[in-house]
């Protein structure tokens, strides 16, 4: 089964489910070093995305990603709305015109998402943000593809790397986002955005149909 609009749509639905399931956990993480809304924010965004998904029959993968981007930008707010919104928009751009995605395109989409997040948010690796999960994920996906792996392997590698990156945010002192206001007190807590990024990539890695 190729990664076509139907698979991407199913993946978005799975993401929405996962965020719904973990929203209290994400909000709790955000309560420790932020303002207690990250889970609520993303949940609102993904629920809006479900409503706006195009009919996969007449859509390309990029259309689906663009619809998600629009929903996130117009419903999430906060820091994560524009950041994830930009990520999905850039991912869409990276696979523009494609009817189905191969492993390399999946890796490209992830890399484009990272570039978008960094352009909007100016965060570097180690700032205790989404970048700390997404950046190693991009590297791992690319390495897997370069080693001849398929999309499933690339996504699994990305998910593992993201999880590790998210764990590694715990001791960090935040330099971007709300957690930075806490200074030294931000250390000792896992970053909510890196955690949600990990959940999303893990969901893609488990998605039925991502075998290309």
């Amino acid at each position: 089964m190729p990664i076509d609009a139907a698979v991407v749509t199913a993946a978005v639905r799975s993401c929405a489910d996962v965020i719904a399931e973990h929203r209290h956990e994400l909000t709790k993480l955000d309560s420790a070093i932020g303002d207690a809304d990250h889970g609520t924010n993303l949940h609102r965004g993904f629920q809006a995305a479900l409503v706006r998904l195009p009919d996969p029959g007449d859509a390309l993968p990029a259309d689906v990603l663009k619809a998600v981007s629009m929903a996130l930008v117009s419903k999430v707010g906060g820091a994560s709305g524009p950041l994830y919104g930009t990520a999905f928009l850039r991912a869409a751009g990276a696979v523009d015109g494609a009817e189905h995605l191969d492993a390399s395109q999946v890796a490209d989409a992830l890399a484009a998402a990272l570039a978008g997040v960094q352009q909007r948010g100016k965060a570097e690796l180690g700032d205790k943000t989404i970048v700390d999960a997404l950046s190693p994920a991009v590297d791992a996906a690319r390495a897997s593809v370069d080693a001849g792996g398929g999309a499933r392997e690339a996504l699994r590698a990305a998910a593992d790397a993201a999880a590790e990156g998210a764990e590694a945010t715990i001791p960090l002192v935040a330099r971007k986002g709300r957690a930075s206001y806490l200074g030294e007190r931000s250390a000792g807590h896992k970053d909510p955005g890196a955690t949600s990024t990990t959940l999303l990539i893990q969901t893609l890695a488990e998605q039925e149909g991502c075998e290309a």
């Binding site: 207690a36 419903k75 707010g77 906060g78 986002g177 709300r178 007190r185």
Partner: protein, 333 residues
Amino acid sequence: MKKLINDPEQVVNESIEGFAAAHRDQVTAHFDPTWVVRNDAPVPGKVGIVSGGGSGHEPLHAGFIGPGMLDAACPGEVFTSPVPDQMQPATKAVDGGAGVLHIVKNYTGDVANFEMAAELAEAEGTRVRSVVIDDDVAVQDSSFTAGRRGVGGTVLAEKILGAAADKGYDLDQCADLLERVNNQVRSMGMALTPCTVPQAGEPTFELEEHEMEIGIGIHGEPGRERMPLESADAITQRLVNAVVEDLPFRRGDEVLLFVNGMGATPLMELYIVYRAAERLLADHGITVVRNLVGDYITSLEMAGASVTLLKMDDELTQLWDAPVKTPGLRWGM
């Protein structure tokens, strides 16, 4: 969680509905996307002043809509910055031909969402200038970080810019003035208790009976430091000294002293803080020429206070004194 609400998901909508009903002679609320605008917008030839941010800071921002202050405001979810879909129609609605000024508090989300909104508005032909307020001295300023938060200074900035727009300042003059205000204003806050975001349902942090948080923002977040509770005079000294040393304010300076309550602190206590602050400033040789005491930029039901100092001059004093007529701040009309 004990709150006078119906449904945690509906608090913003329902409170804006109530607000718009109570002030229907002055403002109109739009929903989904949510924005609030003065009834006589756009005022032809006047620069439109738009602000917005997460809800839970009331009366900021919607409470400051009206002649002499804001033309429109975009309330986000509680403590969550609004989205470009809200700023876009608001910006368009208040453009009286002279362009629109966005007053943005420095939070990653607020900045990014307002940025996207400004791009959209410009694309549609509305000239927009944005200035970011970052007056919180509790946060160390650095180009490697998200920088300082926008807090109490925002209230003063909105009042002063509203007056300037009324007086006929053009868009660039408004933006320059706003930058100048931001360069001359500093704030610092503290909390005695946390608050509870309705959708989260639990307090944002826990504090012992004899602890306080120093260096908090306005989103129920913990501060820079947790320390033993002190007397009002000692706490005020911490806040005032941090603010004075930062700019720094100097002997001979004339200032506006703004003592702000975070939500649950009785006015009685705010005046005890005001008393201490005015005395400390006198010791520094700084004269309070204007003041504001009350709950103007809050953090839901948090108990605590913040101190803001704005260095005044003739221009700012005149703009501060100009008439203003909003639900949250009113004089001269």
